[in-house]
Each structure stands twice: as structure tokens, then as C-alpha cells.
Symmetry: C2
Subunit: 190 residues, 2 copies
Amino acid sequence: MPRWRPDARERLVLAALDLFTEQGYDNTTVAQIAERAGLTKSTFFRHFPDKRDVLAAGQGTLSRLLTEGIAAAPADATPLAAVAAGLEAAGRAMTSFNRELAPRLGAAIAASTELQERDALKQVGLAAAMAEALRTRGVPDPAAGLAAELGVLAFKTAYARWSAPDNELELGELAPAALRELHAASAELT
Amino acid sequence: MPRWRPDARERLVLAALDLFTEQGYDNTTVAQIAERAGLTKSTFFRHFPDKRDVLAAGQGTLSRLLTEGIAAAPADATPLAAVAAGLEAAGRAMTSFNRELAPRLGAAIAASTELQERDALKQVGLAAAMAEALRTRGVPDPAAGLAAELGVLAFKTAYARWSAPDNELELGELAPAALRELHAASAELT
């Protein structure tokens, strides 16, 4: 993977995550984030409306990539193949910055109830968006809801594998592979 | 089902839900909840530490019932059968009060972002608790996580069916049936 050099926006995200981990989400101010990133408060506000948006921006992008990928799958794709297409699209769009972010994001979430709540909301929001994209393709319930949950679980699993120190595979391959594993596991639940 | 007469605690929950729906969660005070229920503020505080606990209490009970049901399943039960045992245990413990609550809970959640966030957290929390109960039984991942997600989806589906006006079936039957449907749907995703 090419060597990665953060731009201003990315430096703000990394500074915010480190501060959330060190001193908690609630105790961290925009001024502190800007200072840690070596930038001014007004630079912060050129990139983000507020502290809470530092993490929300990535979620919006992820949700869009997943649902666009599902929508763009061939008309005759099975529900699982459509979800795999969404995972592949989202996985391909993730950069080395997203990978750098993973351990810090994990640490910040582990340290903060507020961020755990946001992470839970994010999971439920992603599942709802993917289920809706599947229904738009004509997939009925409960298949749409189920395929969406499998998609969220697969993305979480693949993201963890991708960001492991010794991994050399691409997220765009790992995510559909995790989905196939989950579906295979489903057959072995009884 | 026998005719249901709410006790003080139940009247407080109903009053709170109605007020959350009418004027929003944030705008509702403990004093207003007590007044609507025809009770005093000190009666409220004998039952709940705070406004946010009015809804959290039921969630704790549900989580306990589901995980105890999973733990109590026969040692040779498949992961799906263990989840079904949890759903059955939780379903059997639900009273006509829980059923009365359903449409009001739905209305309050639809009206409040704060309650939507809590509902999302609740789903993620229930799935995590069920997955942990399955891992304790020796179910490996990804099967444990997957079976837990199926369990949450099944409970949601069954609860909606149970609380429909014309339903005459018991939740203790509806929930395992919804789980079987979901598992069958899983085989049809490809």
C-alpha cells in the first residue's frame, strides 16, 4: 500500500480520535482538536460543522457506497450477490487512510459510552439503508432485512481483518468473502 | 387474554410514552409524567431513578430472559435451537401489559430521534448479549454473531405480529416461528 500522508481533514480526524481516547468524547473541545492537529479552529470549521461531524462524515459516505453498489448490481443478481456488490464497491473506495484509522477508531469507541452509542446507531442505520436498497430492487421481507444484517456483519468482520497489522488483502475482496462465510455459517446453525 | 388493569408502575410507563409522543422526549418532565398518571413525583421516584429508566427497565428484563433461555437450552441444542429457546422464554414472560404497550411504544419512537437512538442501541445490545450467551455454550463465530442477529430480527418481527389488533397467537409461539422463517429465507438468498 502506498505511503500515506494525511491532509488537513485527515489530521483533524486523527487528532480528534486520539483526544477522544485520551480524555473522553465529552471532554474534548474543537479548540483542542485543532491544536493537536497543528491547525486553527477556523480550519476545523471549514471541514466540519461540529465535533460530532468528525466521525459522522465517514458513515454517510459508507452508507452511500453500500447502497449505490446494491442498486448498481445486475438486475438478475440474487439478494446476496447484490449485497456483495455493495460490499465490494464500499471496500474498493476505502483508502489507506481508512485503514490507518481503524485501530484508533476502535480505541476511541472502547473508551467512550457516547461513541459506543454512535457506533450502535451506525450499525442499525447501515442495515436499514441496505435493506431499503434491496427492497427497491424488489427483494421482499424478511429476505431484505436478513441480507442487510448479513452485509453489516460481513463489513464489520472484513474491516477488522483488513486493518490487522499483517494483512495484505484488499477490503474489496475481504468483504464479499466474509459475506460468503456468513452465509455458509447460516446453513450450519441447525 | 384476561382484562388488564395497570398498576402504578405500568401507569407511569404508559403516561410517559403518551407524553413522549405528544410533546417529545426532551420536553417531557418527571412531574408531567406523574401528573398524567394521576400519581405524585415521589411515587415516580419509588419506581424509577430517572426519566430515561422508564424505558430501559423493560430492555434489561428482555435481555436477561433471552440470555437465560439460551443458557438453559439442552446441551446438544443447535445454535438456532438455543436462540429459539431464548425467544420462547422471553415470549412466554411477556404479559398483556407488554402487548398494550406496543403501539404506544411504536408511536413514541417514531416521534423522537432520542428514542430512535435508544431503540438502535437496544437492538445492538440484545444482539451482543445473545451472541455472548451462545459463545458461552461453545458456539464459535461467525455462527454466534449470526444466530444472535437472526434472534433479534425474529423477536422484532414476532413482537409486531403479536401486537397486531387481530392476533390471537402467543408471543412464545410467534417468536420461534419467525426465527424458523428467517432461517428458511437465508437459504433463498442465493
